[in-house]
């Protein structure tokens, strides 16, 4: 892809007002969406991994939905929920809260598509870590909250971080739902992917150059996040960690 970037034009292109606005908006909204995912996703993952109830499978499928929905359909689903005439939107609207065409709508769209990544990473890790350490903590007198804070979460921290990174990446690239649900206005709702999409109408090469920034940001974030190493095998003695590799 780098081959198709028109390098002499690169700097002016990416420093253009619209590109900068889009990049900043994207970073801001993606970070907020990631935070939202963590807030909502951690309890969700805990419920999925640590409890069992009727309808749990359904809940898991629902959490996965945004992965399968073509993005535009996801946007439609959001509209039907949070839109002015939607399920919740009507009540919100009555309270004077308008979501459509605001930056909030962008964050919601991004969080909607990014949530499954966090929940899935975390649920998997919670299941793998198992409940043995939590049980030990409980027999030592720790309450649920203490066990969660001092045992469960630290144990799954690497998965939490990598889930958050995935969420961030997905939020950063989110396009269809934002387009459908939030609209596209420079500085308010036109994120970098929307800017790319728009540029593509007139100049596909410019679009590729802009995507390149997106990719760079994502690569940087992923690179930083992968410094958070998992705790070996979570085993008391992991001599094998230094296993010889002839």
């Amino acid at each position: 892809m780098a081959l198709r970037v028109d390098w002499p034009q690169f700097i002016p292109l990416i420093t253009s007002e619209s590109a900068t606005a889009a990049l900043l908006l994207s970073l801001r909204t993606s970070l907020t969406a990631t935070a939202l995912c963590v807030l909502v996703g951690v309890p969700m993952a805990l419920v999925l991994a640590r409890t069992s109830f009727r309808g749990q499978r359904l809940l898991r499928s629902l959490v996965l939905l945004p992965l399968v929905l073509p993005p535009v359909v996801g946007g439609i689903a959001l509209l039907y929920t949070f839109g002015r005439r939607g399920l919740l939107g009507g009540s919100l609207s009555a309270l004077g809260v308008e979501i459509a065409f605001t930056t909030t709508a962008v964050v919601l769209s991004q969080a909607f598509v990014a949530l499954p990544f966090l929940v899935l990473s975390l649920e998997g890790a919670l299941r793998t870590v198992g409940t043995r350490y939590e049980a030990v903590g409980a027999t030592l007198g720790a309450g649920r909250w203490t066990v969660l804070r001092r045992i469960t979460l630290p144990l799954v921290l690497p998965a939490l971080v990598s889930g958050a990174v995935l969420s961030f990446a997905r939020a950063l690239g989110e396009f269809g739902a934002t387009l459908t649900f939030a609209g596209s206005l420079q500085g308010t709702t036109r994120t970098l992917p929307l800017e790319v999409y728009l540029q593509r109408e007139t100049d596909p090469d410019a679009a590729v150059a802009l995507s390149f920034i997106l990719v760079l940001v994502a690569v940087a974030v992923v690179g930083v996040a992968h410094r958070v190493r998992p705790l070996g095998d979570l085993a008391p003695r992991a001599a094998s960690r230094e296993a010889a590799r002839p």
């Binding site: 043995r132 350490y133 049980a135 030990v136 903590g137 409980a138 027999t139 030592l140 007198g141 720790a142 309450g143 203490t146 001092r150 045992i151 630290p154 144990l155 921290l157 705790l231 070996g232 979570l234 085993a235 008391p236 003695r237 992991a238 960690r241």
Partner: protein
């Protein structure tokens, strides 16, 4: 802190009941897979019984039946478990692991660390305070786990083979530490070492196949074992038999007269003399057991039956070198003999020889 316990766990064939008086320590012994860890798991709340009820000093730990299902949360049980695997929290240092219990009880950070450090010191692991469990050796991890269980200061302390990975220089010290700690505390300790039971426990429970096969005061169970496993534990030979008109007779030919004058206490520590008189007054045909120490069984090439001695021919099954002694296994008995005798008698597995013990060296009691 009295404990009552009755529980079944269907899929492990577990069905056990026992009581423990306040401040008593119970040693749970038994072969692998007997249900020892299962017992602790049920008490700690890691396993839910199929049915049963346990109460610790008035608090119901669990109460499960066809029409009820109370399972108190582990943290409200006042029970702390040192499991068979150390299971130290991998993300915390040794010190933080030990401080976890005090911190959970609401002790402030500084005090908790001080407490933790003093426990680490008592198990001889103070120099490991800053290490993560991944960087500890097997025995080091085990010691930290012991410290963690003790620091939690529970009403009931459960220890699953706490000394198994420890080296010989530390094990006695830790045993002494446990004895100090357990003095005024209700505790249950699972072990394969009869010494631990002798030194640490007031009472002994022997499990096999998920059920209780022997139980009672430590001294009586270990000096008057009624099962082969109990005899093994006590380092005794156990010969099951019946009361005959003359005294004791076993299926494989041992006969020992029971007279009023037969000395009963063979200097086995804490033995209960009333048992032998009970054997004496047992009706003909009643089940009896005869116990004799391997060191008091003698070996010879010819029949040495005399007045006051029981003697039988047997084939040697196995010869074990035990330091400066040799232990022979023959005809269901073990006999400790000097290496020089082994050479003199030319004993190898398969040799035929005569085993003998003096009537007065045998302890006979009803089953």
């Amino acid at each position: 802190m009295s404990l009552t316990f009755t529980a079944t766990l269907a899929d492990r064939g577990f069905d056990v009941a026992f009581d423990l008086a306040p401040g008593e320590t119970l040693a749970v012994l038994g072969p692998n897979g007997a249900g020892k860890s299962t017992l602790l798991g049920l008490l700690a709340g890691l396993l839910a019984p199929t049915a049963g009820r346990a109460e610790l000093d008035g608090t119901v730990l669990f109460d499960v039946g066809p029409d009820r299902r109370t399972l108190t949360e582990p943290r409200h049980r006042g029970v702390s478990l040192l499991a068979q695997e150390a299971l130290l929290f991998p993300h915390l240092t040794a010190l933080e692991n030990v401080a976890f219990g005090p911190r959970s009880r609401g002790v402030d950070r500084g005090t908790a660390r001080a407490t933790a450090l003093s426990w680490l010191d008592r198990v001889g692991a103070a120099d490991l305070a800053g290490r993560r469990p991944g960087h500890l050796s097997g025995g080091q991890a085990q010691r930290v786990a012991v410290a963690r269980a003790l620091a939690a200061d529970p009403s009931l302390l459960l220890l699953d083979e706490p000394l198994s990975a420890l080296d010989v220089t530390v094990a006695p010290a830790l045993r002494t530490l446990l004895r100090d700690v357990l003095v005024d505390r209700s505790a249950i300790i699972v072990t394969h070492d009869p010494l631990d039971a002798f030194l640490l426990a007031d009472r002994v429970l022997i499990l096999d196949g998920g059920t209780v096969v022997e139980s009672g005061a430590t001294a009586s169970v270990l000096t008057r074992p009624v099962t082969a496993f109990g005899a093994h534990l006590a380092g005794l030979n156990l010969v099951p038999g019946v009361r005959t008109a003359d005294g004791f007779a076993s299926a494989d030919g041992w006969t020992v007269p029971l007279t009023d004058t037969a000395p009963e206490d063979m200097s086995l520590a804490h033995s209960a003399p009333e048992n032998s008189s009970l054997a004496h007054s047992a009706p003909e045909g009643a089940s009896l057991a005869l116990a004799v120490r391997p060191g008091l069984v003698t070996v010879s090439r010819s029949d040495t039956t005399t007045q006051g001695t029981a003697c039988r021919a047997a084939e040697v099954d196995d010869v074990e070198h035990r330091g400066d002694l040799v232990r022979l296994h023959a005809g269901g008995l073990a006999a400790d003999v000097a290496p020089s005798d082994v050479v003199a008698l030319g004993i190898v597995p398969g040799s035929r020889l005569f085993l003998a013990f003096r009537h007065e060296d045998a302890s006979i009691y009803p089953l």
